[in-house]
Amino acid sequence: MTNTASSIEQSVLIAPAVYEAATATIRAEAARLLSEGSVAAVIGYVPGRRAGTAMPAVVTDAEAAQQLVFSPACVNNLTLFLTKAKKEVRKKGRLAIVAKGCDLKALAGLIGESQLKREEIVVIGVVCAGVYGAAADRRAPLSSASLARKCRECSVHVPEGVDLLAGTLPELPRLDPLEAAELARLEAMTPAERWAFWKEQFSRCVRCLACRQVCPFCYCEQCLCDRNRPQAVESTPRPAGNTAWHIVRAMHLAGRCAGCAECERVCPMDIPLNLLNRKMAKELKALYGHEAGLEPKEKGPLAEYREDDDQSFIK
């Protein structure tokens, strides 16, 4: 149970050329947007200090746009920079953002929740063949062994509904979906076995709250889990408080989570948070036919109702 995609099949290389092509387009488009003044800043990725890394950057002049990159190291969901949590970025003015397909789902979710308006931003969609998993060897080129788990079952390699599109999709290897298999494995367990599984997972949590800080949907100015008068969720990293925290987190993101797996990526304790997210997504699809997509929806499944919703569990 780790973020590392396990090498069950022979590791297959993923063509690096596609990232270079995307980088060139991003640079050119960012420079154009900035110099013609149609945006005040572009949120994108620049190379990190260590080889094989990249970090988010808010670029404000056309010259600096030449530093923008897109590579398998561009793991972050930049949508986070458009939320209330990063007010200083929004204050700059009209923004352009580089977005992979999975990040775009978060953007659609935020628009649906009235956190921003579609016409306020320029979306530079990037065709994405995958990014590195958490424990990948970044000196080696991207392969099916170092691919992030979410990318193995990605359905949005080519983002839709964007203003500009960078890159073209190469032929991709067919990979076994690990997360779906893991979810099925858990679902087949007895409740007692599942409790034991999660107890073990949650007990490792150190409550660093990185999972919350990185999530584009955790933009509440006061988190319920930080309140101590009255205290709803114990903040000490003890098993009881941890379990409550994870249940509350999954519940608050139910029907909202875009499945970008950022929470799982940043978790220092390797807790498979995306399994919880996926389970909730599956539940809400089964119950109310809701799925996170690239089109903003006015209301999430838990913000609306139908008079004839299922109530077979109510006496």
């Binding site: 409790w195 379990t243 409550a244 139910a254 539940e283 008079e307 109530q311 109510i314």
Partner: protein, 167 residues
């Protein structure tokens, strides 16, 4: 009208989260009509089922409840028009989540009890109490409460390796 008092080995603690407009009034009616029901239930009233946060249910289990009942107005009777419709969706999703982390859903009951249904209140409370009595005490959350710290178990091989490499 006093029922025989029966001694059981285990008396379940049941917490009932109810809305003030329907179920609370229904429970009140049961009381004023002198209907008998298990004294195991502690009633906490809320303005509306829409106010009942899933975190309250967790808190109840953590603080020693063996069973939880959430009850409000029938669909269409909500004092605030749609509070119970929203609650219905939220609790449907919450049940899925609890089941996934391994909580026995038999300990959690949702119901609609109107102000006129004193009899139904008695029935729901009795059913849940007896069911939980059969299941025995809810141990999972209580055990968690007692655990002070991290289990020390490292599930991932690479974490274990990194841990062992610490001089």
């Amino acid at each position: 009208m006093h029922a025989e008092k029966v001694n059981h080995d285990f008396e379940p603690k049941i917490i009932a989260f109810v809305c003030t407009w329907c179920t609370y009034a229904g429970a009140d009616l049961a009381g004023t009509s002198r209907m008998q029901y298990p004294a195991n239930v502690r009633v906490v009233k809320f303005p509306c089922t829409g106010r009942i946060d899933p975190v309250f249910i967790l808190r109840a289990f953590q603080k020693g409840a063996d069973g939880v009942l959430v009850s409000g107005c029938h669909p269409g009777d909500c004092h605030y028009m749609a509070g119970n419709f929203h609650a219905r969706r939220r609790f449907a999703a919450f049940r899925g989540l609890l089941d996934f982390v391994g909580v026995d859903l038999q300990r959690l009951q949702f119901s609609w009890v109107s102000a006129a249904e004193g009899g139904k209140w008695v029935e729901v409370v009795t059913d849940l109490t007896e069911r939980v009595r059969q299941l025995g005490p809810m141990r999972e959350f209580k055990e968690l409460e007692q655990e002070e710290c991290w289990s020390g178990a490292l599930a991932a091989a690479d974490l274990q390796e990194a841990y062992e490499a610490i001089p």
